[in-house]
Amino acid sequence: MDLGIKENIIALVSLNRNITSASVPIFFVDNEEKQEETALLIAKITMGMVHDLRNGVYAIVKH
């Protein structure tokens, strides 16, 4: 049986420094390339999927 966290936001990768969160870790980055790279690295580690929220924030979600 596969137990684990599912359908959950694991991390946010943000260009916008005004974003705050009480429960989800936020990774601040300076440019879009860095954002892609960080999001990819976190997604590979957590087996999550990267979603673009279109406001300069990428959410990594475990499905």
């Binding site: 596969d2 892609e36 999001a39 990819l40 997604a43 590979k44 087996m47 999550g48 999927m49 990267v50 979603h51 673009d52 279109r54 990428y58 959410a59 499905h63």
Partner: protein
């Protein structure tokens, strides 16, 4: 019992033949070869012998022997459990899972095929014994047994054959596009893909289909999640999926257009051949448990 030997042998032979006839080792790679094949042929042999000895046992006034038939029914329910368990166990190892509905459907088919074998050999033995009772000679008995056996076999085969998607829907190639991060097929949103690299792969190698149901019943059959999962699994296993466990971006998802009930699916295959994808989706079985036939206003519209 000596007099019954001929009918028993012929009925068992016909029964095993009918099991082999229903054993399709085709593109679905199920049952697996060689071990799965052997175990099912052997179970078929047992089912055939049960069907074959029922009539001789009755005519010898061995009524107790008939209770063995109920034992047989129990045995074949176990076949269903066995198939279900083994498929459930390998489910986590599939990149694109079969889904519980598909597993249940496969398990049910295996149980039904054993009953088919039992019925075929039962009716074969019945016809031969009737022929013997009417004092037909041995050659005539054998011929009658074979004719009735093959007749029952082909009728049951037709009866047990499942519908395919192509009978309830039309499958067409579709167009992949992006609205920002949103992956769309024929303007139906499938999912949000954040990474630009993944979007590029979709644009370069993605293939997609649209499944258009032919009537309202087909539409609600296709809306079933188990049915969609079966389509996804078939497409991924037949075309070879370009995905690893850490790449959920490339999971094929069949999504429904809520306005008209059409399904759309995009896939990154090892072999990006859209004709092949259309063919595979067409040949996916319609799961028995997912069939719907709504009544009333919905159907009239």
């Amino acid at each position: 019992m000596e007099n019954h030997m001929l009918s028993i042998i012929v009925s068992i032979f016909i029964g095993v033949l009918s099991r082999a006839y229903m054993m399709k080792i085709d593109h679905r790679q199920y049952p697996s070869y060689p071990q799965g094949f052997l175990s099912h042929i052997t179970l078929g042999l047992i089912a055939a012998s049960l069907g074959a000895v029922a009539i001789p046992a009755l005519s010898a006034k061995e009524f107790g022997a008939v209770t063995f038939l109920s034992l047989a029914a129990q045995q074949f329910r176990d076949v269903r459990n066995m198939e279900r368990q083994s498929l459930d166990n390998i489910e986590p190892t599939e990149l694109v899972p079969r889904g519980t509905a598909y597993i249940e459907d496969i398990a049910k088919a295996f149980e039904a095929r054993n009953y088919m074998v039992m019925l075929t050999s039962l009716l074969t033995s019945l016809s031969m014994n009737v022929a013997r009772f009417l004092r037909a000679n041995k050659e005539i008995q054998v011929i009658i047994g074979f004719v009735i056996g093959f007749l029952v076999m082909s009728i049951l085969k037709r009866f047990l054959t499942r519908q395919l998607i192509e009978e309830i829907a039309e499958v067409r190639p579709a167009k992949i596009s992006f609205d920002g991060p949103l992956l769309m097929v024929n303007d139906v949103i499938i999912m949000n893909i954040g990474l630009k690299a993944s979007r590029k792969i979709y644009e370069e190698r993605g293939i997609a289909v649209e499944i258009i149901p032919k009537n309202p019943s087909a539409s609600s059959t296709l809306s079933n999640i188990g049915q969609r999962q079966a389509i996804q699994h078939q497409a991924a296993t037949q075309l070879g999926i370009r995905k690893d466990i850490d790449e959920p971006d490339f999971t094929p998802l069949a999504r429904r257009n809520p306005h008209n009930g059409n399904l759309v699916m995009a896939l990154i295959a090892m072999e990006p051949n859209v004709e092949l994808l259309v063919n595979v989706v067409n040949k996916t079985p319609v799961l028995e448990t997912c069939k719907r036939k709504p009544r009333g206003k919905y159907l009239k519209e």
